[in-house]
Amino acid sequence: MWILAWRNLWRHRRRTVIVGSAIAASYALFLVVLSIEDHSHLVMRDTAERTIGGALRVEGSGFSATRSIEHHVPDGEALAAELLAHREVREARVEVELSGLLSSPRDNAGAQVRGVDVDAWPTVLDDLFLRVGEGTFLDPDDPQGIALARPVARDLQVELGDRVVLTLSDPQGEMTRALFHVGSILEVEVGGPEQIAFLRIEEAQRAAGLGDAVTSIGLRLYDSGERFALQSALQALVDERRPDQGLAVLTWDEVVPDLIAIIEIDRAFTLIMLSLVFLVVVFAIANTMMMSVMERTRELGLLGALGLGPWATARLVLYESVAKSAVFMGIGLLIALAGHAAISRWGIPIGEAGFDYDVGDVHIVEPVLYSHMNPESWLFASLLIFGLTTLAALHPAVRAARLQPTEAMRQWK
């Protein structure tokens, strides 16, 4: 039966090659587009995780949503040390995140002010796509030194050593002020945040009247894919150690839910577009299959007369379709692999600006598109296309099965 199907497939070599090329090309397109998108999403996820300070975050529940430091984690250092004892946790980074107004004698600027512990989070600048331009970043010998991103310094028209006042509301909602001076200016790399400033964490705590409380503890895991599994375990741990403090363990996905929504919408949209393209191919397949069944009416009638039952006849037509899909999807796969390799290596530049957008506090920039092979996407695309091509053969197969041998064979007379 397979031999018969295989040979039938190559009877109209040119027709088969045309339809096959359409299968191969659209399958390859499917895979490459999904891979580029998967890479994009990877960048988004990675950026989000880096910006948030880890795959998981412990905070006073409600902080992410409200940004109000009324939700905080008392005695953050101690809890961070306890969390770090968990074997899946690689780093625990206490942080005080404030939104306030910075003022110089010349101008004001709104900024996100992050009080960080450089010892616990030495890669903070790299993680946020920042680089020291001038001065020393959060010098321990200069506790009053604030680090400003270059755009913030420009807005305030300040230079190294100039005075800056931070105005913010404390946990009780009272306005307070604190005086700093510019200790360093940070250059913003591609993808880095522009309206940001850094303080040593103890200075931020003091300025905000937080005492030893922090706004969040970022947890970097050995495997961030384990974050969902770990979330409940760590939540239990936190509840046990700190009952009644209303603390929440969140995955980064929950901290920036919009990002996940964007990724999902993006994927759905792409799938719809690609499926529409592929629908045209499916239609072409169905048509040529139907044509080839009609042309072979007499032969299929003969098979029926010889004792090939209707199911077996339908199967024969489906085998042809399966053989066709297998061959041309194989070719499509090779094309897609080559495309994927080329794009992951050289990338596709998409102009000066590239993609540049903010989702919550996460700032995402992609000037060059790369490709990432996600086995799930590849498997999904393969099954979808194989399924649809087979589905396209279903109607012709049923038609073949319905032929009456005597009627079919009468055709030559």
Partner: protein, 246 residues
């Protein structure tokens, strides 16, 4: 020397005949008029018979063979083969019945163009799920018997009309059916080739004891048969037996 013995249609009803056609009609509706391709036909054939169905064009020969081979269903009446009623088999059952019990040889386009002579001959046997080794032995022996062993690998378009029909005969016998139905197997062949094919079928019939029924117009071919059923307008006009014409 011909010994003619007329038989009344329907005689022998209820006996153990291999093929028993009982009061079969096959009516085609054509617009308002009805065409009786078979009109209340009763006839039976015993195991090992070699019978010609003769008659003018449109007399119902093909229809009779199709009804016996479960390719067509009678409008009225029933056909029994080896005691089993096949008049109302479904499509799948009909196919299964043909596969196990009937070998077919048609007038033309008998073979699948994409398969070699050997593969064509093997087709029904392979559907019967006979082991590959047995299959090969059986088919090769028959191809050898009809003188086509050398050409077995050729595609049908590389074989002559007579050779193609011989492959079809091999296919019909390879599945070891109890009946071989041949609808004008020689019609597309020249006279000599047709005769040769018929002689071959006759010899194979003797060797295998298979029941052969074939329809034909050709008087020379008719002479080879030991029994001749003559049809006219969907009815059996005569049923003759003659001693072997050697």
């Amino acid at each position: 020397m011909t010994e003619t013995k007329k038989r009344a249609a329907g005689e022998g009803r209820g006996q153990d005949h291999l093929i028993d056609v009982r009061g079969v009609s096959r009516v085609y509706e054509q617009g308002l008029s009805k065409v009786y391709a078979l009109d209340d036909v009763s006839v039976h054939f015993d195991s090992g018979e070699f019978t010609a169905i003769a008659g003018p064009s449109g007399s119902g020969k093909t229809t009779l063979l199709n009804v016996i081979g479960a390719l067509d269903r009678p409008t009225k009446g029933d056909v029994r083969v080896a005691g089993r009623s096949i008049g109302s088999l479904g499509k799948s059952e009909g196919a299964a019945f043909r596969l196990q019990n009937v070998g077919f040889v048609f007038q033309a386009y008998n073979l699948l163009p994409v398969l070699s002579g050997y593969e064509n001959a093997e087709f029904t046997v392979s559907l019967q799920k006979v082991s590959p080794k047995q299959r090969r032995e059986r088919v090769m022996a028959l191809l050898d018997r009809v003188g086509l062993a050398e050409k077995a690998h050729r595609r049908p378009n590389e074989l002559s009309g007579g050779e193609q029909q011989r492959v079809a005969v091999v296919r019909a016998l390879a599945s070891r059916p109890s009946i071989v139905l041949a609808d004008e197997p020689t019609a597309n062949l020249d006279h000599k080739t047709g005769e040769a094919l018929l002689d071959l079928m006759l010899e194979l019939q003797r060797e295998h004891g298979t029941t052969f029924l074939f329809s034909t117009h050709d008087p020379v071919v008719i002479d080879r048969a030991r029994r001749i059923v003559r049809m006219d307008s969907g009815q059996i006009a005569a049923d003759e037996r003659q001693s072997e014409a050697a």
